[in-house]
Amino acid sequence: MAFLQVIEPGLQTTIQDTGRVDAQRFGFPASGSVDRAATRLANLLVGNAEGTAVLEFPLVGPTLEFERSTFIALTGARFKAELNHALIPMNQCLQVQAGDILKIGPVEKGRIGYLAIAGGIQTAPVLGSQSTTIRLHLGGFHGRALEAGDLIPIKKQTVLTSFYHRRAQAQRLPNQDEIIKIRLIKGPQWQWFDHLNQQRLFQGTFKVTNQADRMGYRLGGTKLQVPKKNLLSTATVRGALQIPQNGEPIVLMADRQTTGGYPVIAVIATIDLGYFAQCQAGQKIQFELITLEQARQALDQLRQELDQFEQTVLAGKYRPPYGISRVASQRISRMLEE
């Protein structure tokens, strides 16, 4: 076991993976990372399996000291990040040495960043997941956000040079100066709303408020009129736009409650969920209605692109030019994997 020492914790750095999805049956929030594509990419860049636990940090990242050499990758929102005071690029695999200090500063574009470490973070899973649910003091590192002085267990890594070339293009992030478009599918209570309010959803401009966290993002700018009907509580899903009586939509995120009683007018298509999660407070949004079929096709296309990227990365591992050390290291790498 090796450790990662937390020098500065950042705003709210937590350990996240793909969440305790199955425990939703017993009322536990799913949790997990809010930008799944960014998490998958980070893990891929350092050779981790999909779903390996990473660090997630909104707005201001942590400062960390590495006790041993390993590989890391930063993805998601664009942060100012320095390794021993030298700026480092995002979306690529980087080697760090024992004693190196990684300082992830304030965000420059987007909202949430991810740091994957080769081999993953080694905390004990709770109900099948290492994800932190702060509100419930569940999972992660003692059920809370990281604090200065914490020693986070990571996997002891045999450093190999074969990951060096792994890099990806920067992901799409919301532009603060523009009104961005988010695609929606009609929700289960769509018919509850009259024509005027259905139109308002697609013609109005919404704004992400500062009441936004891992549970949900409250939207302002346009209000919707809600019919005075009591809904039987039912399950929630990620990306659901629930409309409470005050008419301000709340988009449900990773730490959402498993069931709820407010009508859901629409659901953000999975393809746009990560992009939406990357919105800062004040971001202007317009919604666009798509069909379920279109949402499926878009999701399918994303999967193909990610699979293709994964193939490229895996194939590239053994591509020339090989240096003397690389040939040796790759042999060792292959042996370790077998």
């Binding site: 039912t234 399950a235 899903v237 009586q245 409650q257 498993t258 379920l292």
Partner: protein
Amino acid sequence: MDYQLFDYGDQAIVIELGKVIDPEINRRVQLLGQLIMKAKIPAIETIIPAYATLTVTFNGQITNGKMLRQRLVPIIESSLSGDLPVAKTWLIPVAYGGEYGPDLRDVADYGGITPTEVIRLHTAQKYLIYFLGFLPGFAYMGTVPDQIAMPRLASPRLKIPAGSIGIAGQQTGFYPVTSPGGWRIIGQTPLKLYQPENPVSFYQAGDQIQFEAVTPAEFKAIQLTVQAKTYQPREAE
């Protein structure tokens, strides 16, 4: 029994067995959930039972709603019979009104009755736990008498203390952890309904809950035994 299937976003399907709070419908929901989990369909991530609906979430990168529906229909058909085990009844002490239940007076005004009458009505019956949801250990229970069935708040409160007992329409329940919420809070229990070190609750869906009114002094006495970890949940005889 009739049922309906509809999509909920691009990675969930809702199976609706009814539109009302009804013990018989809920029994079917529980049974259906067990059968679907037993079928071990790889694309299914989980099931989330509620009063009259069972929501099935799936990985949209492995399957799609159309394919999944074909797998679900025979299971739904086969679930329309069968029994669940006999229910236990748990006693939950509650201090009503005052600092413990800020909305008790509003609920009384809503029903045109006194706060004492609200307490009498709320403790006069056993409530079936239809499902656990919303938060770990949060039991959805029903159904409260019409006089005290006040709808939830227009705008949810940002912070409701752990142990709070609330009403939302015909539903009643308790908040196991401090959280935002829109229920009308009429009281509070000194019991710890959620412990992260032991996250699974002592009561289960299908059990019953009976509330018992206690004085603030009794509340504090029970709280001490809870803090000393000597409190044992009590079952009704």
